[in-house]
């Protein structure tokens, strides 16, 4: 085992390129994103924020079953999707709808799961976006498998695997890092450390110097980044994706951010955190900061902003227009196996019979 621990450990503090006032603090870094890239990111941030707000509103109206919002974390969402090439894969959790939308999946399809309709609403293979995963950290191993498969075939695919701070405590997180490192799988693990796992703050989750320090024990190169700074995220993730693609093995990135909204609409954060804590994060908002920088550098003007807002409204309107799903009883049994077992055929017949009698009655 020759890997040098110094090379694997993250930097002493999170990488930041644009500060809370929208001022570039490391403008001379060669990997500072281009104005065009930042403008793209900003456009997606605007859409993402609107998407989060609209989805949350739909829950209040009873039109979505549940929605775990990424409000405040949109920079992570947008960067995770935008650094990928078309043939790369994204492995999102329940909280990563905005990343999925940024990747190009239809916003309405993205919400299928939360609408109470069939579980996964988009074509995972076509978009190379895995179904959103709820059992925490389990998807990280799938990401390793997808990456290893691509590597065995000599394809240049990189897999972006997302999870939260809480999920890093699951055994599967460690197993995924370890497998990825041993097989040098081209996976970028992005931990969105939003400080909470439902009600449990990071201080009860881990005693580590940082979550990025979990890499060295597996021989995984690690870094940490300001998770509300989309420029820093783009720079750090682009580097990580490039290294993974170049065969340098898996990369672990911890993004320091904050879950501004409740865990889901069903949650009551008043029970475990004070409003003042949330207030502290408002000035660090990823949108205002990026807008300030882009305005300051003359890249963003009112017309462009209006264009982004209009696109965001279009997405919101589409979400509102979607109606409740119609159910097809046959779907209960159709895809358990490639072809239903005799037992499933009997059960499907029972349901058909029951429903036909209801209609008759």
């Amino acid at each position: 085992m020759t890997r040098d621990p110094d090379h694997l450990l993250p930097s002493r503090s999170p990488v930041q390129l644009i500060d809370e006032q929208g001022v570039a603090v490391s403008g001379d870094r060669p990997d500072f994103p281009s104005p065009a890239a930042l403008l793209d990111a900003y456009a997606a941030l605007v859409v993402g924020r609107r998407f989060n707000e609209q989805a949350y509103a739909l829950v209040r109206q009873g039109r979505l079953a549940v929605y775990p919002s990424s409000h405040g974390q949109e920079a992570c969402q947008v960067a995770a999707a935008q650094v990928l090439a078309p043939d790369d894969w994204l492995f999102p959790t329940y909280r990563d709808a905005v990343a999925i939308v940024t990747r190009g999946v239809d916003p309405v399809d993205t919400l299928t799961l939360f609408r109470g309709d069939w579980h996964t609403g988009y074509d995972a293979r076509a978009h190379r976006v895995a179904p959103q995963t709820t059992p925490l950290a389990t998807q990280l191993l799938h990401a390793v498998g997808v990456g290893h498969a691509a590597r065995l075939r000599g394809e240049p695919t990189v897999v972006m695997a997302l999870c939260g701070d809480g999920a890093t405590s699951e055994g599967d997180f460690a197993e995924a890092l370890n497998f990825a490192a041993v097989f040098r799988a081209p996976v970028v693990f992005l931990v969105q450390n939003n400080q909470y796992a439902i009600s449990v703050p990071l201080s009860k989750q881990s005693a580590a110097p940082s979550l990025a320090h979990k890499g060295v024990g597996h021989g995984v190169v690690s870094e940490r980044v300001d998770g509300n700074d989309v420029a820093a995220l783009l720079a750090v993730l682009t580097g990580a994706v490039a290294r993974a693609r170049a065969g340098e093995g898996p990369q672990l990135i911890e993004a320091h951010t904050y879950r501004v909204a409740a865990h889901t609409n069903a949650d009551d954060p008043g029970r475990y955190r004070v409003a003042a804590e949330v207030d502290e994060w408002i000035p660090r908002d990823p949108l205002t900061r990026t807008a300030a920088y882009l305005r300051g550098t003359g890249v963003l003007d009112d017309a462009r902003q209006a264009g982004f807002d209009a696109e965001a409204e279009r997405v919101a309107a589409a979400l509102r227009a979607e109606t409740t799903p119609t159910t097809d009883p046959g779907q209960l049994f159709a895809q358990v196996f490639a072809s239903p077992t005799p037992q499933l055929r009997e059960q499907a017949a029972l349901v058909r019979d029951e429903l036909s009698r209801e209609v008759d009655a």
């Binding site: 079953a65 549940v66 799961l113 939360f114 109470g116 309709d117 069939w118 579980h119 709820t134 059992p135 925490l136 809480g166 999920a167 405590s169 699951e170 055994g171 599967d172 796992a197 439902i198 009600s199 449990v200 009860k204 989750q205 881990s206 069903a266 009551d268 029970r271 475990y272 409740t324 799903p325 159910t327 009883p329 779907q331 209960l332 049994f333 358990v336 077992t341 037992q343 499933l344 059960q347 029972l350 349901v351 029951e354 209801e358």
Partner: protein, 326 residues
């Protein structure tokens, strides 16, 4: 009389047990200040302090594994798995250790611990939030499996789970958490292993447990209005199993339908049907029918009502019990 929900009764049971026994500790994900996502542990940290009711890191194998150690060293842990699919990461700890420790040490090391698991559907939950996993535990020798269907049983069974020296998998029907009930503290809950006849009847027996009990009772009401008298037996505990009460009922009625939410194949419902078929063979006027969840993954909310055993399916099964032969 005071009204109490099933969740409230569980909360009270924990509180009373913690007051009565210093060794009872409660931990898991979000059970501290939040009081659990279903609020079953509400107020326990406030009353008993962080050392007796606390949040853990997010790792179910870790939670159960640590509970094993604490039980080995003088405590009586009650751990919460947030939803039943999220107990699966702890499956090895539960099956290879919790279930076996007493036996492999010939009684030298006992594990008095309770694993609380909200289970079942009926709440419009998304995937992984509505599973019924009682068969996995009931099939595993060395685990007791309790599942209340009323607030009174919830209180009584949880208190009794907290007195023995054997581990209990305590399955809480999610959809009944908020059902209110009059609370009559004078009614004592019998020891584990005693089923109860929830509604007497003469024509056939519905055997149910946990979330299926109210559905069975509804079916019995409808049947009564149609002139058929159904007895409803509530198992209360799957392990130990009360053959006596179940068989006595079926011996009286001569017909039985088993009702359970979990997929039917190789399930607790299979066990009940097999036992009743074997033990009541000569009393049975018709085959034992099962009305269960289908052998499909728990479906999305929009499909839930098709999937869950409902009154109609139960009554259809009852109709099938070869009445023409009477």
């Amino acid at each position: 009389m005071e009204k109490i929900t099933l969740a409230g009764a569980l909360n009270r049971a924990l509180r009373d047990a913690m007051r009565a026994d210093e060794s009872v500790v409660v931990f898991g994900e979000d059970v501290g200040p939040l009081g659990g996502v279903f609020r079953v542990t509400d107020g326990l940290t406030a009353e008993f302090g962080e050392s007796r009711c606390f949040d853990t890191p997010l790792a179910e194998s870790g939670i159960v594994g640590m509970a094993i150690g604490m039980a080995m060293n003088g405590f009586r842990p009650v751990v919460e798995m947030q939803f039943d699919a999220f107990a699966f990461p702890a499956f090895e700890q539960i099956v290879s250790h919790v279930a076996k420790m007493r036996n492999r040490t010939l009684g030298a090391v006992t594990l008095p611990l309770v694993i609380r698991i909200p289970y079942g559907g009926g709440i419009g939950g998304v995937e992984h939030h509505c599973d019924s996993s009682e068969a996995y535990y009931a099939h595993t020798p060395g685990l007791q499996v309790f599942t209340p269907s009323t607030a009174a049983d919830a209180y009584g069974l949880l208190r009794s789970a907290l007195t023995g020296t054997d581990p209990v998998v305590f399955l809480e029907p999610k959809k009944l958490y908020w059902t209110k009930e009059e609370r009559d503290p004078s009614v004592a809950v019998p020891p584990p292993g005693r089923a109860v006849v929830r509604r007497p009847g003469t024509d056939a027996t519905l055997i149910a447990y946990g979330p299926a009990v109210p559905v069975a009772l509804d079916a019995a009401s409808v049947a009564a209005s149609e002139g058929r008298s159904l007895e409803v037996v509530d198992l209360r505990t799957i392990v130990p199993f009360d053959d006596e009460t179940v068989c006595a009922s079926v011996a009286r009625t001569g017909r039985a339908v088993v009702v359970a939410e979990a997929p039917g194949f190789a399930s607790v419902a299979s066990e009940i049907a097999a036992r009743v078929s074997e033990r009541c063979f000569s009393s049975l006027s018709a085959p034992v029918r099962r009305v269960t969840g289908f052998d499909v993954p728990f479906p999305p909310p929009a499909y839930e009502s098709l999937y869950l055993p409902g009154v109609d399916r139960i009554l259809d099964a009852v109709d099938d019990l070869q009445w023409e032969l009477v």
